[in-house]
Amino acid sequence: MRRWSFGFNFEKTPSIMVLLQPDPFLNELTKMFEQNKEKGSVWVTFKRSTLKCKAVRQRMQTVGELLEYRCLVRATDGKKKISTAVESMETRQILICLVYLILRCEISGQLSTKEHQKFQASYATLLKAHMDSLKKRDRKDKKK
């Protein structure tokens, strides 16, 4: 295991982001919701991203290549971070970044429109299942 670490202890580094495939991401997110039931909060962030660093982005722009955007979904409970990238249009395979290989992380592959919709639906179901501590409609003192 440690052969890959190049003298760098990954386990002790809290800020490493694990980029998962959408399905494992949803599983991890479920776990995260369950772990933070009694105390703690869960944050989920949506961000439009190319998943490329600034230098690569600028190089692609100067060459005139079209940048592909995905919806990067990140989740954290303050202790652990997970993420996935969802794209809508069918596009060519993106080369797996060497850094991610070293970090033993999976980079998301191609996602068709159908898979994107699937993720969207499963995500919604997951949220509905876990957000059950919110108040039911109270007719006596309606907030709105």
Partner: protein, 103 residues
């Protein structure tokens, strides 16, 4: 930052904010089970819009906003978002009909 009270205002402003600067905008959802609280936030690091709720019925609205942001972020900021919001409305109407028949 003060919380926005009206949902429609929050949606309008957050979509506007995202379209103005898609590159640096993000949409964050914070859920705290033990307190039964949900906070939605949209920010571009300059301006921050927040909406807070403790009502279960607001989840439907949040789902709709999730879909809007999914669409905006994957298909681009110029995409027509009425489709994402319309689809949701159609679905809720269908469930209502289903309930009525059963009774």
């Amino acid at each position: 930052m003060v919380y926005i009270e009206s949902w429609d205002e929050f949606v309008d402003k957050s979509v506007q904010l995202f379209r103005a600067d898609p590159q640096s905008s993000r949409y964050v959802m914070k859920y705290r089970h033990c307190d039964g609280k949900l906070v939605l936030k949209v920010t571009d690091n300059r301006e921050c819009l927040k909406y807070k709720t403790d009502q279960a019925q607001e989840i439907k609205r949040m789902e709709k906003l999730n879909n809007i942001f999914f669409t905006l972020m994957t298909r681009g900021p110029d995409v027509d978002i009425t489709e994402a919001s319309m689809k949701e409305q159609a679905e809720s109407q269908q469930t209502k009909k289903g309930r009525g028949r059963r009774q």
